[in-house]
Symmetry: C2
Subunit: 212 residues, 2 copies
């Protein structure tokens, strides 16, 4: 089986160059469509959190059947858009300077995390309706690992309290940031106030009581 | 119209006593069924968060049609069970001693609030799937008012920080308590640890920095 497949692949790429090029074009088209659909999902949900799959296809400039070819159900589409958005977010988080004083580094990290959550608020709200909470938390794992590493260093260095486990500090970070996003959606909090409220709350909650 | 209704009511209660008694019996039956259905909703969801309406009717010892007569849809049933559970919770909260030192009173209040949330965890999880987050928060309004009054007194007396508005302190209280419930459901937190984690986190976050 493996030999036959390898053989076929060789022929496909080398022996029939025209068909190979056509296949590559089809793949490139499919990738462009996929990217356009995911971007359109974020844009359309921002304007209308209950946007239909048909509206998203229209915004992406593709037919509904093309969209369904990539994402057979609305939950699958929402999950793919969330994964895509989190992947971009992880790239942004990698650029945050996490060196130096742990408390200052944590402020930098949650400020950037907040911007990412704020930008994908509509997508997250849609995901909360379509996906189980456990799955949403799972998809945040990479972002959480960055927070976990920093909180652990801060505990070792005496900057953060050690009478609460890092897993709980992570939960608190997650619910406070996402709670702020819900409050903005409900009109009870402004985007201007949110970063200061989040930082003040988490820094006060996590500070090592022996150091204050 | 008002006159005619008053007249009819008088005749129903006084002029035809046998029919009046029958009607009262029917109403009493309906009330008993309603109470049994709401209790069965809480019990059944605790065993199986995705329990069907048929399972709940069986647990309540009523027919499915009787249940649908009271609650035409699953979301309506879940919302009614949540309102019922919150009403009982409000009665419990009224017994909490909120006098004296605001920080100590706040610890007593969130400890009892946590017990109430922990008891209705399965119902809340079902409500999160069936009802919009704004509606769930709305239903918590009475319980929130108790927290709000105490937080405002604590701010006036200098026990709690005033650089964050009470609305944000309430949001933080809500998301941390409910976040703990989700963590228990996910198996990352034990019921024994939860009250201390919640109290430690919120007291540290809300303390007036000038007083520590």
């Amino acid at each position: 089986m493996t030999g036959a497949r390898a053989d076929g692949a060789t022929r496909g790429a080398g022996g029939r160059p025209a068909r190979g090029r056509r296949a590559a074009n089809v793949r490139a088209d499919a990738q462009r469509n996929r990217a356009a659909i995911l971007q359109a999902t974020v844009d359309t949900l921002r304007k209308d959190p209950d946007a239909s799959v048909a509206q998203i296809a229209a915004e992406a400039g593709v037919g509904r059947m093309t969209l369904y070819g990539h994402f057979p159900t609305r939950p699958e589409l929402i999950e793919a858009a969330l994964i895509d958005s989190l992947d971009r977010g992880d790239a942004v988080l990698r650029d945050v300077d996490l060196e130096g004083d742990a408390r200052e580094a944590f402020s930098r990290l949650i400020t950037v995390s907040w911007v990412l959550v704020d930008q994908s608020r509509a997508l997250l709200a849609a995901a909360q309706k379509e996906l189980p909470p456990g799955r949403i938390r799972e998809l945040h794992e990479k972002a959480e690992a960055t927070h976990r590493d920093l909180l652990e260093r801060g505990q070792r260095e005496g900057a953060f309290r050690t009478d609460l486990p890092v897993s709980w500090l992570l939960t608190t970070t997650h619910v406070v940031i996402h709670g702020a996003a819900d409050e903005i959606a409900a009109g009870r909090l402004t985007s201007e106030d949110a970063p200061r409220f989040i930082d003040t709350t988490l820094q006060a909650a996590f500070a090592n009581p022996a150091q204050t």
